[in-house]
Structure formats: structure tokens, C-alpha cells
Subunit: 312 residues, 2 copies
């Protein structure tokens, strides 16, 4: 059944029946607005929008994959403030001919990804429209801690990363060349594995700045450098390039460090910590903060693109 | 300058420079997420999406008008829970050829409308995309009160309305027939006048259910009836049809009650109150709640359309 046949309220009913609300949800979908617990008297909020043909392709990703990706992009922003995600709201624009099954699959993916960090899908809106578009807003709870901003890095701090990097970009290249394997890389593009708990963990460890790497490591670390008025050097030998990525890079004629240093979509968290901070498992030191400005790789300017501009 | 020329970060910078953050904003745009005060330990949240060609036309509305309309649609949802809006987040998809001025005008309209209820624009996201789309999320504060839901109306309650109704629908008809006057009606469509403060006021008065009328009075009051398992009768003589609306209706060959009873976009608040509630200025009794189901007009079924389905 197409969405035009089921009508707006039919579609909403089909979607809502598939959603799980999280433990912070006081009032879920079905009223004018949701009500979400904000125990510490503040709420963290972020919005991201995914547009078909630009952020996803239906022939590359199933509807649940798109749901996972849309949720992850937002939930990672919440984690990057040092907060724990509590809720998602979703605005969905769908062409009238789209199968209602697709929207249901999307709802399944959104709900499943949110559940990974205990968050629920609490509300949303649907509209017809010529371009399939998914705009997600995530809310989160700081648990009494200060937010970790982009502007607190100091010379001498270490730069560390939590989560995979380069995998999703490699999967994107694989798909864009018409291949479907290596599966590990393609699946990494379809469903990023974000270490949400690393965000609050970094805040407790005293992280001085943090960002989620969505557009490319060098570009996003560059935002930390700019906001903090410091320079940041990234060490290329800090990254393991797994065999499957190295083999795929060779077969496709790509420098795998282009994926690692400038590829987006994995959403690892990059944070700076005071010198001497003992990083727990899951965090890997990848560079240092120094006086100056900009981002270098092994103390040299990086010659490739830094990341992704959504208008170019 | 087009948005493609200014680039993603150029556009964001131009927009952010025009935003005002409200008094509840602890951290505004520029980081991974915003931080908003949620003093009572809960946050109210709602999302609405506007798509060009479906919810607005650039030849009918300037960019600031679209900003006012997008903000009002969301802020009214927050008010309809009995809450005070605190913040907006905006996800914007724009064709690359759009002038950056347009996005700036949109930001001005969003900010100005939010300021009417003390809220700020605290964050957002922008993307290129073929269809101009504005998805807004609003947050709000219940101030220690229970949310006013849709499901609490009781037989014997009175139905009341705060705010104009029919004006925006009349303006829509005027514009769709190629006219630009009467100005009052066209402006009502471009910039709804929502009585935001009436939402918390209704909660304090003991409203048993509430909704914002965005798709048509009978359809939206029908949601109250369905959720509350009651019938609701609307009295047509409760509505004043102003002269300009009556004249326009006559000239256009339209029954003005179609605008009043089934027209959307004005976003008045409809609420039910226990019998004997003394309604303050600005609230007008328009009907009664009774045992049964569905919505009637003057005790009879309404033969026209009830409202708007965004997929038909």
C-alpha cells in the first residue's frame, strides 16, 4: 500500500505502532507534543537532516538502515556534548508513491538505534513532498555535568578518538563504484557503530573539548582547533587500517588515509583531554594540541580534502 | 549570492548571526548541540515540517513569512500542552541556487516569531536538496503543571477557542484565486496570530483537554473527541464572520463557514473546560461536550470536508 492510499493518519498510526519510547519518556507520540524527563533541569538538543540522493540512496540502504543512520547522526551529537540521549523526534517528508512499508522500516531503524542508548522516539510529523527527507531532533541529559564544548582545548592536551573511523567512507566508495562487498565496509556505511557511552565517559574524565566526527576527522577536529584558538596535530600512525580496508583501497586505487582522515559518517567522538589523562579502553590517543592554529598531520599540512561540504 | 556560492559554513554563519537566543538558552548555536533550561525537570517537544509547494509558496509568502508560519505551527503545539515555548531548532533543506538572502529572511521570521513568546532559535542544520523544506522542533516548559492532553474532555464540559479562526484559510483561498487582497486575510495566512499565552492560561484554569487547530477546527476538535471518548458539538453562531471575510466569501463564491470550521493555519487553541469555568478575555465558548462520539455542528453532521490531509 502506498502512503497516498493509507493517508496521513493511517501512515502515522502504522509508524507509531512500531515505536518504543525510552525510559525518559513521560508522554510519547499522539498528542500535540511529547513530554520528556529532563532530570537535571537542562536539556541538550540537536537537529540533523538527511535528504535522499545526498545523504542516502534507497538502492544502497534499506529503510531500517536509513533509520539507523539518521538516528546515529543525531544521537552522536548529543553524546559529543557529554550527554546521554533521551529522545528523538522525526519529521518525515515522503513522496506519495512511496510504499508505507518503507516508512515502517525507517521507524524500526530509528527505534532500534535509539534503543542502543536507552532513548525513545517520542514524536514526529509526516508530510508528502517530492523529496524523501528525514529530519531528526535528538534530546539528551547532562546528568549534572557541564556540557563539553568545542572551545576548551589547551596547548599540551592530547587528542583522542572513540569509535571506528574510515569504515563508512570506505563503504561509501565501494557502493559508489557499484560493488556490494567487502560487506564489513558496506555495513559500516549502512549502520554506523557509535560509542554513545564514550561521550558521558569523556565528560567525567575531564575532556576539555569534544565533537562527533560526521564530515571528516580533519575538518571536524579543525572545528575544535578554531573554537579553542589552538593548533592540533594528528598522528597518522595512530590509526590501524584493517586488512579489508587496505585491500579495498588497493583494489579501488584509493589512499586509505583519505577515508580515515577525511571520510565522514562513522560518528566516532573526538575529544581533547588534559595531558596525563589515563584513557580508558575504547579511547585511542591520535594527536596533540599545541599553540598555533589549524590542523596538521604528522606536523605537515594535509594535501587532500579535509571533509564534506553539504552544498558542494 | 547563492547558497552554493556561500557554502555550508558560510550559510550557517550568515543565519546564526541573525538569531536571537531566548532567556532559557544556556548554550546556543555553534556546537554539536544546544543546551536549554528545563527548570521543572521535564521538557515538552514537538516537530513540524513545511514543504515548498505544499505548505508554502515563495510567490505567496516572503522568507520572513515562511519563518513566522513554520515557527508558529510548532510554538502553538507547545502552547497546546499548556506549556511555555523555550526554544526552536531548525532543519533547512535548500536548493543550491536559492539566494542566501532568502535563508536569512527565513531566520529573521523564525527568530521574530519565537521572540513573541520569549523563545530563542538555539540550533539547526542545513543541507542542499532539490525541495525547499523547513523542519522545526520546538521545546517548552510546563512550569510545574501537568500537560493538558487531548484525552481528558468529559461530558458536560464546555469547548472554547482562543485566537482567530478562518482568516488564514480565507487568505489561502484569496491567494489561490490569484488575488492579493483583502490584505487582512492574506496577511493572516502569511503570519498567523497565535495566542501563545492562552495555553498555560488554560492549564491554570483546569482545561481538561486542548489542541491547536492547524488542520481545521472540526478535524482537530475531532481528535479531542476521539481521544476523550466523547462527542463534541460546535455552535456555528459562536463565530463572528468579520465583514471582510464575508465580502471575500461572497465575491469568491465560498461559504465562509467552510473557512471557519474546516480551514487550517490560524493555530488558535481549542480546549475543553469543566462546566461553570469562567473564561477570561480571549477565550470564547464555541460548543459543548456530550456522551457519544464524533463532532457535530449545531447538533447535525457537517456535510463539508473537516480539514486537511497532508497526503491527499
Amino acid at each position: 500500500m502506498s502512503i497516498a492510499e493509507s493517508g496521513e493518519f493511517g501512515l502515522i498510526g502504522r509508524i507509531v505502532s512500531r515505536l518504543d519510547t525510552g525510559s525518559a519518556t513521560l508522554l510519547g507520540p499522539g498528542d500535540d507534543a511529547a513530554v520528556v524527563r529532563a532530570a537535571d533541569g537542562r536539556v541538550v538538543a540537536s537537529t540533523d537532516v538527511l535528504v535522499e540522493g545526498r545523504h542516502f540512496r534507497r538502492d544502497w540502504c534499506g529503510p531500517a538502515d536509513v533509520g539507523h543512520r539518521a538516528a546515529a547522526a543525531n544521537l552522536a551529537d548529543i553524546a559529543a556534548m557529554g550527554a546521554t540521549p533521551t529522545a528523538l523526534l522525526v519529521a518525515l517528508c515522503v513522496p506519495a508513491g512511496l510504499e508505507a512499508d518503507w516508512a515502517e522500516g525507517l521507524a524500526d531503524g530509528l527505534t532500534a538505534e535509539a534503543a542502543l542508548c536507552g532513548a525513545g522516539v517520542v514524536g514526529g510529523d509526516t508530510s508528502g513532498g517530492p523529496t524523501l527527507t528525514v529530519a531528526v531532533t535528538a534530546l539528551g541529559d547532562l546528568g549534572g555535568r557541564d556540557p563539553v564544548r568545542r572551545n576548551g582545548a589547551h596547548p599540551g592536551d592530547i587528542l583522542a578518538l572513540a569509535g571506528r573511523i574510515g569504515y563508512a567512507a570506505a563503504g561509501y566508495t565501494v557502493l559508489s563504484r557499484g560493488f556490494r562487498t567487502p560487506k564489513m565496509l558496506v555495513e559500516a556505511y549502512r549502520r554506523p557503530q557509535v560509542r554513545y557511552a564514550a561521550g558521558p565517559e569523556a565528560a567525567r574524565l575531564g575532556a576539555t573539548s569534544m565533537i562527533d566526527v560526521s564530515d571528516g576527522l580533519l575538518q571536524d577536529v579543525g572545528h575544535l582547533a578554531t573554537a579553542s584558538l589552538v593548533g592540533i596535530d594528528v598522528r597518522s600512525d595512530a590509526f590501524e587500517v584493517p586488512d579489508q580496508m587496505r585491500d579495498a583501497a588497493k583494489a579501488l586505487g584509493v589512499d586509505p588515509y583519505q577515508w580515515v582522515l577525511a571520510g565522514g559518517d562513522d560518528h566516532p567522538l573526538a575529544a581533547t583531554f588534559p595531558p596525563g589523562t589515563r584513557l580508558p579502553d575504547g579511547w585511542r590517543e591520535i594527536g596533540t594540541v599545541h599553540d598555533g592554529s589549524g590542523v596538521t598531520v604528522d606536523r605537515k599540512p594535509w594535501s587532500g580534502p579535509l571533509g564534506w561540504d553539504h552544498f558542494r
